[in-house]
Symmetry: C2
């Protein structure tokens, strides 16, 4: 947590600083989009670690190391807060990041998704889908149980990311795959399901079809935006006079990111897109 008195002394200057957002790739742009909708005056700096995507198949130690490097890069851009848009990085690294950088608030997609799920669920029986690393980390389960969930069922869905990237979001292959991955949630086992990966909202229609009406889906991007707004308000860091400028950085060739990124956001990101050199 930031030092409140220091923050208040420099409130004007601090408020104008941008918000940093990092993800393993371009999926986190769904989170940037939600933040931009809720906080249109804030300046946003996005870092997509496209050279090292995906994090979901990598070990905790490696993801923590990458998260540290990403955070150092965003801090070099003078950010006042950092949103960890990547579920795998949130699951493995957020506690380490807070220890390493105690003066900067870190907001993770996982905590935000968990809080929203606990508001939505009636039975207290909550499901989570995500990458293998996210599910294996047990972080969603631990947080949900701490927040009062009665039971938590998790399922890793490794094919959902390539399906989303391939644009196969509602064909029979997507549906057959969803039927296998979502089997653990059938028959009233859960009443709420967290989409624990930034890519999954693209498959939301198919997931909803397979799950049926009895399961509410929680997309954590909007939950993160709300949580960030509350935090900035309570820290007196909200920028209400900014120009909402955005700056996008990627660690691999911007050309590849441009196409997919623009599709994710529904606008051309090329003029604000640059290659980032991490230390």
């Amino acid at each position: 947590m930031p030092n409140n008195s220091r923050m208040r002394d420099n409130a004007g200057k601090e408020k104008e600083k941008p918000i940093g957002i990092f993800d393993s790739g371009i999926g986190g742009l769904t989170v940037l989009h939600a933040i931009g909708q809720l906080l249109p005056k804030e300046e946003l700096v996005y870092l997509g670690d496209t050279a090292r995507v995906p994090y979901g198949t990598k070990s905790a130690e490696t993801v923590i190391r990458y998260s540290m490097e990403n955070s150092r890069f965003l801090l070099s851009k003078g950010v006042k807060a950092i949103v960890v848009a990547c579920n795998s990085a949130s699951a493995t690294s957020i506690l380490e990041l807070r220890k390493r950088f105690p003066d900067i608030p870190f907001i993770g997609v996982i905590e935000a998704g968990v809080e929203e799920a606990m508001q939505v669920t009636k039975s207290g029986n909550v499901g989570v889908i995500g990458t293998s690393a996210t599910i294996e980390s047990g972080r969603y389960k631990k947080l949900l149980l701490e927040k009062g969930a009665k039971s938590v069922v998790g399922s890793a869905c490794p094919l959902f990311v390539p399906l989303a990237e391939e644009g196969w979001i509602d064909n029979s292959i997507a549906e057959d795959t969803a039927k296998i991955y979502l089997k653990p949630f059938g028959g009233g086992v859960v009443d709420t399901l967290i989409l624990g990966c930034t890519h999954y909202p693209l498959l939301q229609k198919t997931i909803a079809k397979v799950c049926g009406d009895r399961v509410s889906l929680v997309n954590s991007a909007e939950a993160v935006a709300k949580k960030l707004k509350n935090l900035l308000e309570s820290e007196n860091l909200l920028n209400e006079k900014g120009n909402g400028r955005r700056k996008y950085f990627v660690t691999d060739s911007p050309i590849r990111a441009e196409k997919v990124g623009s599709r994710f956001l529904g606008e051309n990101i090329a003029p604000s897109l640059e290659l980032a050199e991490l230390d």
Copy 2:
């Protein structure tokens, strides 16, 4: 190409040196396996860049940089030749590697696969499947046409790697996916199809079923082993007295690699597996 006279002067010592093999991950163990079968006396050093897998979604510049780092690591282990087992790295980096390290022979899976395909094809009409990066690089097409192919059809199959890793190698999802990806090769368009990715042999049965009898499949792992043997013979570098020791390095946690790697090779690699620190 190596300096022949220097090689001959130190032939005894040079022969005993290990062979280096690198891949973006553990898929290249299919290549190591084929080399071990054909050259059982050779000492083999494998480097799987599991922290940065996959290469197939990354830009050429990034893959070249990674290939340089991998080669430097293998050279630090005193190797006499380097096999580029990764199709994406072969497609983008092999010419650069030969320029940068002119004293060491580099053998790529692509050249080996192309040569075998040209021996197999009767019509001269050849197909290639691989990752997006491999197909987009155009390297297979260029080489096949140079070697006398009449026509070349390529198709990127991004879902095949996660299907293979998920173990969904012969279910209806694998078959439906193969039907979409292999459509360009139907109706006698090609008589030979190169499996241009180290993971694809795991799906070979399903691919063969969808392609039918009229298409011969080329698996480049064995072709690489043959090409390597010829090269070592012609350079007087063949080790006929070695103990066939193997050493496996990965750039991410060895624990994760151990399970999949042992499954790929059908033997426990744990005792010879270590974390590699790349410069």
